[in-house]
């Protein structure tokens, strides 16, 4: 917002800015920051009111031709300039009322007032389109144009690793030792930090909840260039016992009490002290994070080779990404030498390591940016179509006034005057449409945002304010030009023959402009239709994917129990087994199970596994996903047990070392063999587990990604402290669905009053959340497409209806000479069909070129999907023919006698 206000200062004349420019900008920045700090709303209000003030003051300052500015230093000259500059309050007398433009505008207003229907349709159509554009723009403005609220944000880079040829993922996070190495040795980085985000328990007095947190390195804040609003940043001496809280947490958890600084609270089960409060616009890596517990890896607690940590760096002055990649590569190669305690497998991974560096903006915005650009493109197309429609309406108006214009021309009005008159009408309509659009954007955007996917960052910063206002003003100008130009040219050269033949229509010439617009409308509408058709098919495919599990009637939640008696695998297992029994006893519950990572919600863990024959070889193994499960998880989720058996109650109580593998995992570890009874282990561990069952593969992460191999452990490992499943996801098959939440909550309060219950969903809502980006984009584009289709059809209908009216006489003559109604209908329909067919042909070509921008959103549908192209083109032609048929029918009912008598 601030840069926009500062840009507006340029509206003032040069000499004014020389004198006051710096002070003006300074004052705006200070006051904006103050307002913004109070709240987003104050900031927005400040921006809007000051934008208006700047526009008004700047333009007034420019519009005073008689006004002499004598900014001089010293009283003597100031006094001498006084008499000339005296005209202050009285100002603008005379002059402006006789100004040509003003007079034209007044005339235009009068002329439009006589055509309220036309004005209403034009304003409404354009206003709708402008509103959609302004709304989407305000989102693009906040999310994409100025995405990171950090100084010199373009210097910030995201750093990760890749190891082509290894069994690691295509790209993965770095490990602690990389941070140590990079921060000490990489001089192309002026700052570097690691960060993460996770959910953990925060306890403040009686309130206990799982909240999003982050444990970055202390350097994060210096690297990003942010400082706390109150308090201080943590330092190494705090040893991870100091916490920073977000502005949001300060307000919602601590009642905005400044004395919170210095107090200690139970955070992730330990007492930590709040040392600072971050400013309102700080939310890293995402705006939901409420708490940061900065800490640095030290020689004592470094986790060598524990990959998966995200890293942000700031490029040193003059450094670029390619140079940095060149420096980080060799630095990583020296790691095995620096840490000799690492394994041979580690050394071989490092040999394959390649650094990955890209702008932080790209990393944080990720997939969010493309759909937004696509939406902006779609609504822009709707606006173009609306403009084409209104241009045609204006042209029709002008043609209806040819006699009037010819008279004015004959009386000596210049071409310029006629053009100005026409442009003024377009300008007035454009301004009205702009105002209506702005109003609609202002009223509609919040509702729109509520429907938006919540993975879009910075959405909470969207405001329909000064930026949107400027954008809308620009749109209005564009509309005025687009809708005014063609009709103006038409208006500027009325045939003087109009005066002679009593204005009888010449109909066959000059429709190239009109037809051209219809062709363009049809083509653009078809592009949108095809785009939304492709997305619709993807959505359909995605909905019908076989994920391997059911989503209907499954309620899910997590609890994080904690207590002195909960300290190892068996104790947690007992707790969860007992709690599952309590839940299962509820009347509406069919079955209950738990799982370490809930599908569609929590991602997945992975590590390298070995089968019996790989033992002893440090470098062999397969990277597989693993999780834990208990109760009737497979039955509840309807995951089929293909071979062997599911876990029994006994598996969760003692230490048999039984495990269940998914079909894909079995095929990977024992290809072509019977997996039941076979053994596997994690690489570098000497505990073997035995396969007792094989289950169906499932899509763990989301519906788009193919099922990955997965290993299920029971709740208890072979030793009591091998693992403890503290807060698994519960799945409950119940006819009540999400409505069972209060009953479960009551149970939680009774059994474990200190355990926050969180991540409360139904599998169905998780499923629709996982598709929200696609469904949201699809719905918006579909809406745009329907609007485009409708506007296109109305445009075609309007033009043909007009042509039929103009040709009434001609049609009458034809019918008097024996033409039949059918022939007349065919003639009119053919005229419409010709135009539509050309439009469809062009639209198909345009769509073939542009649909590839949708590729990332599509699912199992080709961007050139023949079915979609043919079907939508058919719809388009059908609508075009229908729009032509209605005027054609009217033409065929022309009474020859009436029509010939009418003049």
């Amino acid at each position: 917002m601030k840069p926009l206000l500062i840009r507006l200062v340029r509206l003032f004349p040069e000499d004014f800015r020389q004198q006051f420019g710096e002070d003006l900008i300074d004052q705006l920045s200070i006051d904006y920051d103050r307002a913004r700090q109070r709240s987003v709303r104050h900031g927005a209000a400040f921006a809007v009111t000051n934008a208006f003030d700047l526009i008004r003051s700047g333009l007034l300052e420019r519009l005073r031709p008689s006004y002499r500015r004598t900014f001089t230093h010293g009283p003597a000259q100031g006094a001498s300039g006084h008499m000339r500059g005296m005209k202050m309050g009285g100002g603008m007398s005379g002059g402006w009322m006789t100004n040509g433009w003003i007079r034209d505008l007044v005339h235009a207003a009068r002329s439009l007032r006589r055509a309220p229907g036309f004005v209403a349709i034009a304003t409404l159509t354009l206003g709708l389109a402008v509103g959609a554009n302004a709304g989407i723009f305000s989102i693009v403005d906040a999310v994409l144009l100025d995405p990171l609220p950090y100084p010199e944000a373009d210097e910030l880079v995201y750093i990760a690793a890749s190891a082509p040829g290894s069994d690691f993922p295509e790209e993965f996070g770095i490990a602690d030792e990389f941070y140590v190495q990079y921060s000490e040795e990489a001089d192309l980085l002026s700052g570097v930090a690691t960060y993460n985000d996770f959910t953990a328990t925060l306890r403040v007095d009686e309130r206990v909840e799982r909240v999003p947190m982050s444990t970055p390195t202390i350097s994060l804040f210096a690297t990003l260039g942010v400082s706390p609003m109150m308090g201080r940043l943590p330092v190494a001496e705090d040893e991870g016992q100091a916490a920073l809280i977000s502005h949001g947490a300060w307000a919602t958890w601590f009642g905005s009490d400044p004395n919170v600084i210095g107090r200690s609270y139970d955070i992730i089960g330990e007492s930590r002290t709040i040392v600072g409060i971050m400013p309102p616009d700080f939310g890293f890596p995402n705006p939901n994070v409420l708490l940061w517990i900065p800490n640095d890896p030290t020689a004592g607690n470094i986790n060598l080779g524990r990959f998966g940590i995200r890293m942000v760096g700031r490029l040193a002055p003059g450094a670029d990404i390619a140079g940095l990649v060149g420096q980080l590569g060799p630095l990583a190669q020296r790691l095995p030498e620096r840490y000799p305690e690492t394994s041979a497998a580690y050394a071989s991974l490092i040999r394959q390591h390649r650094p990955v560096v890209r702008p932080l903006t790209e990393e944080l915005l990720g997939d969010a940016s493309r759909p937004l650009w696509i939406l902006l493109g779609s609504v822009a197309i709707v606006l173009l179509i609306a403009c084409a429609n209104i241009t045609n309406l204006f042209t029709v108006r002008v043609e209806g006034r040819q006699r009037d214009l010819a008279v004015r021309r004959a009386l000596g009005a210049g071409r310029g005057a006629l053009i100005r008159g026409q442009m003024s009408e377009a300008a007035l309509v454009a301004v009205a449409a702009g105002a209506l659009g702005m109003l609609m954007a202002w009223a509609g955007t919040p509702a729109f945002l509520r429907a938006a996917p919540d993975n879009v960052p910075r959405l909470e910063l969207v405001e329909v304010g000064g930026g949107t206002l400027l954008f809308t003003a620009g749109l209005a100008l564009f509309i005025a030009l687009a809708c005014g130009l063609l009709p103006s040219l038409r208006a500027s050269s009325p045939g003087l023959s109009q005066l002679r033949d009593a204005g009888r229509g010449s109909t066959r010439k000059r429709h190239w402009g009109r037809d051209g617009l219809i062709v363009a409308q049809t083509a653009l509408a078809l592009v949108l239709l095809i785009g939304s058709g492709l997305l619709l098919r993807s959505f359909w495919e995605l909905r019908n994917v076989d994920a391997g599990y059911e989503t209907a009637d499954i309620f899910t939640f997590q609890i994080a129990p904690d207590g002195d008696d909960l300290n190892d695998g068996p104790s947690y297992a007992r707790f969860h087994t007992d709690f599952m029994a309590r839940v299962a006893a509820l009347p509406s519950v069919e079955s209950v199970g738990v799982v370490g990572e809930l599908p569609l919600d929590e991602g997945v863990r992975s590590t390298t596994f070995q089968n019996e024959s790989m033992a002893g070889d440090d470098e062999s193994g397969s990277l597989l996903n693993f999780t834990w499960t208990g109760g009737d998880y497979f039955g509840t989720m309807d995951i089929e047990v293909l071979q062997g058996r599911a876990f029994t109650a006994a598996d969760h109580q003692s230490t048999f070392g039984n495990a269940i593998v998914s079909e894909a995992a079995a095929n990977l570890l024992w290809p072509g063999q019977d997996p039941i009874g076979r053994q596997f282990r994690r690489r570098n561990e000497d505990i073997w587990d035995t396969v007792v069952g094989v289950v169906e593969d499932i899509r763990q992460q989301n519906f788009r990604e193919a099922a990955e191999p997965l290993i299920y452990y029971p709740l208890v490992g072979q030793t009591p402290d091998r693992w403890a499943v503290g807060s698994p996801g519960y799945v409950v098959k119940t006819t009540l669905g999400g409505d069972i939440a209060p009953e479960v909550r009551a149970l939680v309060r009774e059994v474990a009053p200190n355990a926050p219950m969180y991540a409360v969903h139904t599998m169905e809502s998780l499923a629709s959340d996982s598709m929200v980006q696609l469904s949201f984009t699809m719905l918006t584009i579909a809406l745009a497409a329907v609007l485009a289709l409708l506007l296109g059809a109305i445009g075609l209908y309007g033009i043909l209806a007009y042509v039929v009216t103009r040709r009434t006489q001609e049609i009458g003559v034809r019918m008097a000479l024996g033409a039949r109604a059918r022939e007349v209908q065919q003639m009119v329909v053919a005229q419409g069909a010709r135009v539509v067919l050309v439009g469809v042909a062009i639209g198909l070509i345009l769509a073939a070129i542009t649909t590839r921008v949708l590729t990332a959103l599509l699912f199992e549908v080709n961007p050139l999907d023949l079915v979609t192209f043919v079907a939508t083109a058919t719809v388009m032609i059908g609508v075009g023919l229908l729009a032509s048929y209605i005027p054609a029918r009217r033409a065929s009912t022309v009474d020859p006698v009436q029509s010939l008598r009418s003049d």
């Binding site: 006051f20 002070d23 004052q27 309050g89």
Partner: protein
């Protein structure tokens, strides 16, 4: 009486008033106006500097050198503005007029009576 001082706007009046005790820089003028008007006049930046520009052009206000004892501050060099003799005169005239108008109003509204 200066012809200028008739029809002075509230903002113009407060701008002159703020500088009556001595030269001020831009942001200080804004602060002074807000303070002296009890917050009832809160000029937007664009309007404030436009008024300042007009008053400089008409010789009521002039740019002056920063005071010798100016405290060190971050950021730009501050530009100071002060009243010319004519500016003082205009302010005095307007104050007089306001005072008379206020007296008249009090009389008509019978404020004196109800106070008793």
């Amino acid at each position: 009486m200066s012809p200028r001082s008739s029809g002075m706007s509230t903002l113009e009046y407060h701008v002159l008033l703020s500088m009556a005790a001595g030269p001020l820089y831009g942001y200080a003028i804004k602060d002074a106006i807000e303070h002296e008007s009890d917050g009832s006049v809160s000029p937007r930046a664009g309007s404030l500097y436009r008024v300042l520009g007009r008053m400089m052009a008409s010789g009521l206000v002039t740019e002056e050198d920063p005071p010798a004892d100016e405290a060190p501050h971050p950021g730009l060099t501050r530009k100071y503005y002060g009243l010319t003799p004519m500016g003082r005169e205009a302010l005095a005239d307007q104050s007089q007029r306001l005072k008379q108008a206020a007296l008249l109003a009090e009389k008509r509204l019978g404020l004196a009576k109800s106070n008793r």
